[in-house]
Symmetry: C2
Subunit: 312 residues, 2 copies
DNA sequence: CGAATTGATACTTTCTAGGCATCGAACAAG
DNA sequence: CTTGTTCGATGCCTAGAAAGTATCAATTCG
């Protein structure tokens, strides 16, 4: 059921009426508006017809607002004010000075690259608000094509079609184990030394590729760990390790602020590698200046801590 | 310094764009708006030019909002919604179903006619809000021509030019005196019996005519009272009488709810008369339907308690 | 590779805002 | 009371803009 254009008046009518209401004088109002007085009279009369209520009492010697006119003025003043600021607002949005970017990240990102990026970005683009949500890799890979997030910091398994990514970090995982664990006294470990110790890991669905790569690394070392618990976010795994539920993987960068009851030990020989990238929909940075600004800051920080070459 | 019309766009542009943003489809949006598709494309393009920012990304197969477009939608949705309700709102204001009336009154009015009027008016016109302020007669006579109040309940001394009035009440004043006063045992009093007893009265500036008429009445009775205190609002005079500061005038109607420590006694012979009228600017009831509705209710109540004829 | 769909463009028609001239009413000055 | 001035409204004409029709270019899908 097509419905016709719903307004029988437009902004011109409202602006003209506002000026008449301010001056209560058609001739002077017309002068201010740079139109002839008859045009103004007609527009106001049209507005009254469109609204179905008289707005002014004209006695050819005095113009006064009716109650309806008073009510109209009160309602359109804020509307006109907000509309008059629109072009400036939208231009600043379009130029990236103002806006918002929805960003997802994993625990590793927040433990490493993200804090300095955020600090720098807020300093350079104070008008842009970031919406930050911790989210597993798999969820980010779903949310990115949907446009639910503008960019994500995650750990890809294979190239994702339609996404552009930039590697920010590559690190070999080490092991986090309780301080009173038999192996805790060692400087470093080998995977096979862990035997079939109980493991705390993230849910496989959150990053199946990396999950399977971890199991494959164990398998190549000839051992099969018992997965005791699957927990997320990653920070909670530390709590489980501390309470003796098992051991877990972690990157060196992420292990800075471990509680005293647990220790981090690097792995010698084969070890699963974590790769942190920032990813966004290909081409979306062209349409979203705020995102582009954010990615530029990310790129600047990626350049600083460029990681050495290595296998995927 | 004449300034040109400030908007390079109008409501049509905004409504058209809103529909495209909702459907993300020019053809269907055009159908909904009951216009041809080229017209819609042009209007949206014009809006983008007027705002100086691209609002949509068109890939001939997919239409998406840019950040600026998203920001625009968020800002204009409430504006369009409020504007679309304007005709209905203004018609109800113009018809008197919705509105406000500023009313001033004196203590006598609130003690007598006003409560039933207010009850009745709110029942019949629930959409009209009354702004009620107690105010002396003189202040009301200043505020009425200014339009600061729409109508007032006061005690006129002489006809006021430009005002229409309707008499609501005529009453001979009596005397309020402490219960332990020597004259309190009498059924009624004469003015001259009060001699030069201390009096509590309202400030002369609040109603010079009535004030002088009171003094003249004393003078005709051959006595001259001492004005000990001038106090306002009237209700406070009762407190002063109670504490023995003097005696005061009051209308019988107003004396209903006196505290037990004071008594009311009518006056025999000469006594100042209080006349309560409702007044409004001549002709203003024609322009203000809410006021007209209020005055109709007042008139209905005035008819009920029509006072008998008597001297002004 | 052809058919269909989408949004943009060219051209014409229709509508409307604006300007000019003028009118009737109301107030002011004499 | 008369005359002149000022105010907003009205009639007529022109110019500009919006809408409709027809068509194009690009993309998608079978």
């Amino acid at each position: 059921m097509p419905r016709k254009y719903q307004f029988a008046f437009d902004l011109r009518h409202l602006v003209y009426f506002r000026e008449v209401a301010r001056q209560l004088h058609f001739r002077r109002a017309a002068e201010t508006l740079a139109v002839a007085q008859p045009a103004l009279s007609r527009q106001v009369a049209q507005l009254e017809a469109a609204l179905g209520a008289p707005l002014l009492t004209r006695t050819s010697r005095r113009v006064e607002l009716t109650p309806a006119g008073q009510a109209l003025i009160e309602r359109i003043e804020p509307v006109l004010d907000s509309l008059s600021g629109l072009p400036a607002v939208l231009r600043s949005v379009a130029s990236g000075q103002v806006g918002q970017v929805r960003v997802a990240f994993t625990g590793l990102a927040m433990a490493t690259v993200l804090p300095p990026i955020l600090r720098d970005f807020h300093r350079r683009h104070p008008g842009v608000r970031l919406q930050l949500n911790e989210s597993p890799t798999a969820a980010q890979l779903e949310a990115l094509p949907e446009g639910e997030i503008a960019c994500g910091f995650f750990h890809p398994d294979k190239p994702a079609p339609g996404l552009k990514t930039r590697v920010l970090l590559r690190e070999r995982n080490g092991i986090v184990l309780p301080a009173d664990h038999p192996l805790a006294s060692r400087e470093s470990l080998r995977l096979r030394e862990l035997g079939n110790a109980p493991f705390v890991l993230f849910p496989r669905s959150h990053n199946p590729g990396f999950y399977d790569r971890i199991l494959a690394a164990f398998s190549r070392s000839g051992v099969a760990p018992r997965i005791e618990e699957e927990v997320w976010p990653r920070a909670n795994a530390i709590g489980l390790v501390r309470s003796g539920m098992g051991v877990t993987f972690m990157c060196p960068s992420e292990s800075r602020q471990l509680p005293p009851e647990v220790v981090f030990r690097p792995l010698r020989g084969p070890a699963p590698e974590s790769r942190l990238v920032v990813g966004w929909r290909a081409g979306s940075e062209a349409a979203d200046p705020a995102l582009r600004a954010f990615l530029e800051v990310v790129a600047a920080h990626a350049g600083v801590r460029a990681a050495g070459p290595g296998p995927g």
